[in-house]
Amino acid sequence: MMSDTPKRKITPPTVTPETAEFWKAAGEGRFLLRRCTACHETHWYPRAICPFCLGDTAWEETAGTGTIYSWTVMRRAPEPYAMAFVTLDAGPTMLADLVDVDLDGLAIGHTVRLVWSPTDGGPPVPSFTLS
């Protein structure tokens, strides 16, 4: 689902041949990870070549649930917003913003789920909200 209260302009991601399928799926509300076909590890950010063994990797759809590993609130921004490292239940830890959350109520260990945030003319990007 889309986050329905975009509070600030999010610039569109740079889409490359390596990541085009991720962003196409994002536009359809599906969250993809790369898993290595040799060592079977998942990683983040998505790469065609496995960062653990340099094997080939393949896309797989995943749930986008996880827990907050660390967080901060950018209080200086014109509209304050929250950023976090989220450890996905699927393994890797990824950076994203937190949307539709109480900026004064965040804590490490909170469980979150992925939502898609619209960008300014590009595919949506992953965000998280409290689950």
Binding site: I10, P12, T42, W44, P51, W71, T93, I108
Partner: protein
Amino acid sequence: MSIKNKAYIVGAYEHPTRKAPDKSTAQLHAECARGALADAGLTKDDVDGYFCAGDAPGMGPLSMADYMNLRVRHVDATDIGGSSYLMLVSHAVQAIAAGKCSVALITLAGRPRSEPARPGNPWQPDAAWEQPYGIATLNAYAMCAMRHMHEFGTTAEQLAWIKVAASHHAQHNPLAMLREVVTVADVLASPMVADPLHRMDCCVVSDGGGALVVVSPEIARTLRRPLVAVLGAGESVKHTMGGRVDLTYSAARVSGPIAFAEAGVAPADIQYASIYDSFTITVLMQIEDLGFCAKGEGGRFVADGNLISGVGKLPFNTDGGGLCNNHPANRGGITKVIEAVRQLRHEAHPAVQVPDCRLALAHGTGGLLGTRHGAATLILERQ
């Protein structure tokens, strides 16, 4: 092969400007070069090796060697952000030891107060996964501090002590941007900019620069400056590790032990330390990772004035550091080496000079601590 005693730092110069709207970046580089060569007692035509990093305008060593009309036989422009210049000292010593040059000039300069920020490169492989959110320097450091507090019980008061110590030193530096002595309460009362970092946990933004001259032992002995030897050096990078993110430590965990082993000394032997201070959390994590205290003990180590010269056990950043003095080009690495050289020459301000300072450490972190960063450690000795 070791670089121990293979070359000496004989020239060091910190540009006095903190805001330079009327100068070009290339001009600032050249003014720094002129200052460091004069300090060493050498001339431009003695330089046969030139070292710079990402702040150098144009195509780095090509543009700057052309601007300064240097005739060099060795160049190196390896960029690991603000830690580049500590690493370039190591690379200069390596080049001198290998006979590739004998007088190495290293320059840094920039005008972040007077020029618009350079946009991030949207084609670097991490860009799509970070830049849309407005990932900023602040974010990446703040999340390290938040995790450190969570894992080890580090407090905002303990982080504040790092700024307090820097301000005690800066009061004696007439060129420092922030000379007012502050208290822990002052830091905690400053506005929260990115939880848990307050405004006073953050370094200054300044125009300016610096330069260093590193030479072979044969040339160093002909000069009239105290001999500052490079005893050991280490470098490393740390990143997001394929998604196995661990924000509790920095690349100093690798670069520090390499430098100490090469120098043949231990953290307890260090009399003065220049430690990169983009933010207070940067200092705290580096102190742990360099082995001045155990992991997780950094908060207790820095508290109660332990970093204040004449008061604590580890005098640090006696020029006021990036937190109070200067952070030229948003890259504080070169000023870390410059103040360590001042201490070893016994040319620091008398109020902050470490008595009979013979052994110093300088360490830098470049890039973003929470995503990807470089680290470089130098162990320096007065001989």
